[in-house]
Amino acid sequence: MTRRLNPARIGIYILLILFAIVFLVPVYVLLVSSLKTFAEVQDLSKLWKPPQGFNLESFRTAWSGIPEKGLRGLSRNLLNSVYLTVPATLLSSMLGSLNGYVLSKWKFRGANVIFPLMLFGMFIPYQSVLIPLTQTLGTIGLGGTLWGLILVHVVYGIPITTLIFRNYYAEVPTEMIEAARIDGAGILGVYWRVMFPLSLPGFVVVIIWQFTNIWNGFLFAVSILQKPELQPITVALRNLAGSQIKEWNMVMAGTLIAAIPTLLIYIVLGRFFIRGLLAGSVKG
């Protein structure tokens, strides 16, 4: 195939660049608006223009709020998101690893029925479990708490983490397991000696996937956590953006703060992110 620049190839590049520009418009909007002062952002004639200076005031306000105006900062909510996302991600990854191991290498009778039944759980609209969920969490004393929300994310993370690990472990040659068994390893021994040491790339994919999903999640959090000081950053951000008096520079700064952790992961570990993404369509 010729790779010289002929008109057709120039056309391809023009299209690709045009799409890239369109895709980056929201990023431009975020950066430009958040770097403006309140007076600048109010000037609608300069709505789309870059800021006059490099002003970080909006980030400071979004981060620590204006207590005298009763405006809460997002710092607390960012921390809540960390407290929520880290344990929920680790727990659901470990569960997924165990399940994936058993369901790929130790298929017991009925495993081929149980697995699809499990997978169905990742497709359901979560609205269809919200009412029993809030009731149950209240009954077991976890209503309105971060621990309750962690439990919820761990449980509803089981299908996808199991799926990714199952597909991942299916690639491990059975000979390696048989060799370990000849050495006398049992089901748990095989896991610790053979599977777990091989699991690092699998764990990276699953941890990135779960971290992104839980960090970005909204419906469970907004339904379970009523106290503003407990809410994760997505819920706090939506409240900030939904308020009547909107200081757009601050809202955009807050949006960037909420987006940066998952964006960083995507930029640094994009390869693994895409693998998780493609695993989500059942067939990896």
């Binding site: 789309w48 699809p116 359901i124 269809s128 969920l133 970005n216 419906l219 059942v282």
Partner: protein, 310 residues
């Protein structure tokens, strides 16, 4: 007990906690929600008095008044949203994948740009696109309208997601929301197609070339048929996403004027947690579940039957 049997038991016990959790939190809770949808629970305190299909009747017949009207709009909105959103994602996702498959320089950069929205929360997307499509007023134009005015294209200005007009049952206010949703998921669709394209052996294309097929002909007759299963998977993922969409619309526009951008997810959330109409909320979510199940269950059966055959 023999050694092998004992290990089978351990295997089962290892997944048992997950099985129990899924049994309760998915299947048990769905049954529970269905019970609520058949009850008279309308207030903070649970009330499981049998109501039969009354709640469903209220959503689907004139007796339901505003609720029925709202739900009717919700269903039409879901239909149009789903179809247009899937169409946009598949068309642009495939186009970008094919363009990137032409051995372009800087492929990695382009791919990163098209796919980064997938790393964001729907809430983040909602906030930014709300700013972009906020119409402002005729004296204080905002967002795209301000941009259109600046370049002299005032004729193209409109009220975007605050528009109440509808074409047949299609609320045009949904268009900006569909654009935002497509912006977020086109990259994902592209990644699926790109993985598919990379999985096609070069020999197949080479053979077609030897037979005298043109580059376009190769795409039409060799590549596209092989991508069909990917289109199928993409439509399932996109379809079930849009049938239950909530975060994005709730953040970006809410219900909109006259429920122009309302979806069942918003109705369910508001009526349950703000209105305490639990039975109605449960009814809406049962209908949402049925819609998603109609798409997902055949897909799961199809996928696993194939796996067993392999």
């Amino acid at each position: 007990m023999s050694h092998a049997r004992r290990e089978r038991w351990i295997a089962f016990l290892m997944v048992l906690p997950s099985i129990i959790l899924i049994a309760i939190f998915v299947y048990g809770f769905i049954a529970w929600t269905t019970t609520v949808s058949l009850s008279k629970w309308d207030g903070v305190e649970p009330d499981y008095t049998w109501a039969g299909l009354e709640n469903f009747k209220q959503l689907f017949t004139k007796e339901g008044g505003v609720s029925a009207k709202r739900f009717n709009i919700d269903l039409w909105n879901t239909l149009f949203f789903t179809v247009l959103f899937m169409l946009a994602c598949v068309v642009f996702g495939l186009l970008l994948a094919i363009l990137l498959d032409q051995r372009v320089k800087g492929e990695g950069i382009f791919r990163t740009i098209y796919l980064f929205p997938m790393a964001l929360s729907f809430v983040v997307t909602g906030v930014v696109w709300q700013w972009i499509f906020a119409p402002g007023t005729s004296t204080r134009l905002r967002g795209v309208n301000a941009l259109l005015h600046a370049v002299g294209l005032d004729a193209l200005r409109w009220k975007w997601f605050t528009e109440t007009n509808e074409i047949w049952h299609f609320h045009v206010a949904l268009i900006p929301v569909i654009i935002a949703a497509a912006w977020q998921l086109i990259g994902y669709t592209m990644a699926m197609y790109l993985a598919g394209l990379r999985g096609i052996p070069e020999e197949l294309r080479e053979a077609a070339r030897v037979d005298g097929a043109s580059e376009i002909g190769i795409y039409r007759h060799v590549v596209m048929p092989l991508l069909r299963p990917i289109t199928f998977s993409a439509l399932i993922v996109l379809g079930h996403t849009s049938l239950k969409i909530f975060d994005l619309v709730y953040t970006m526009t809410g219900s909109g004027p006259g429920f122009a951008t309302d979806v069942p997810g918003i109705f369910m959330f508001e009526t349950t947690f703000q209105g305490n109409h639990y039975a109605q909320g449960a009814t809406i979510s049962v209908i949402m579940l049925l819609m998603v199940a109609l798409v997902i269950i055949p897909y799961l059966i199809y996928t696993f039957r194939q796996e067993v055959e392999l």
